[in-house]
Amino acid sequence: MTKPTQRIADLPAYLSHELRNALACIHQFGNILVDGLAGKLTGEQREYVSIILENASKIRSVLDTALDGVAPAASKIRTKI
């Protein structure tokens, strides 16, 4: 497999690993803050953290859709070569 082709084939796995771990951290620590496990937040602070969490969920949704679309194609590239 040529290097560029290998990169294309590996891209979904790489993106999934890197972005999902980063999103996991945003969700985990955002919820830790919202749940008051690191101290009580003001109403305004809770609202801002909730906005962060909502947008992290949007990114997750986009990532799921994108990876569902490209992962089978990447798998085919790997199989062909």
């Binding site: 999902r20 999103l23 996991a24 951290c25 985990q28 620590f29 919820n31 990876l67």
Partner: protein
């Protein structure tokens, strides 16, 4: 009754810390490992009630950890829940075939993670999340 002990095996320190905080806030004791090799070693040392296992890690990865655990009779009985950033049904299928009780994809909803842990440990369902508290969790 003593708290149940959960071993978190994940090479991402931030993910590890987040899970650790959440589990401690829900009355679980925890122990940590950051790669496949130390995951097996820590399982031997601490004999946890359950293992939360990442798949993509240095020194072999999660599948190797499950293989090694199976070879040690005292550890083979410990239930494993895979919590992975890997995409696709292939990994889920392989994890379950390798003996995992459940496969959860990151980012995992806290309620879902706790529900699966309780179900795996045979504990009754509790309220979704601990009540708001002012003190930090250590």
């Amino acid at each position: 009754m003593p708290n149940k002990k959960i071993l978190i095996v994940d090479d991402d320190r931030d993910v590890q810390q987040g899970m650790n905080l959440r589990l401690k806030a829900n009355q679980y004791d925890t122990c940590l490992a950051g790669d496949a090799f130390s995951g097996v070693a820590e399982a031997r040392r601490s004999e946890p009630d359950l293992i939360l296992l990442d798949l993509g890690m240095p020194a072999g990865g999660g599948f190797l950890v499950m293989e090694r655990l199976k070879m040690i009779p005292s550890l083979a009985v410990i239930p494993v829940i895979v919590v992975s950033a890997r995409h696709g049904l292939e990994n889920q299928k392989r994890a379950l075939e390798s003996g995992a009780k459940a496969f959860l994809q990151k980012p995992v909803d806290d309620d879902q993670l706790l529900a699966v842990i309780r179900q795996t440990l045979g504990e009754p369902a509790r309220m979704k999340k601990p009540a708001l508290c002012n003190q930090g969790v250590v």
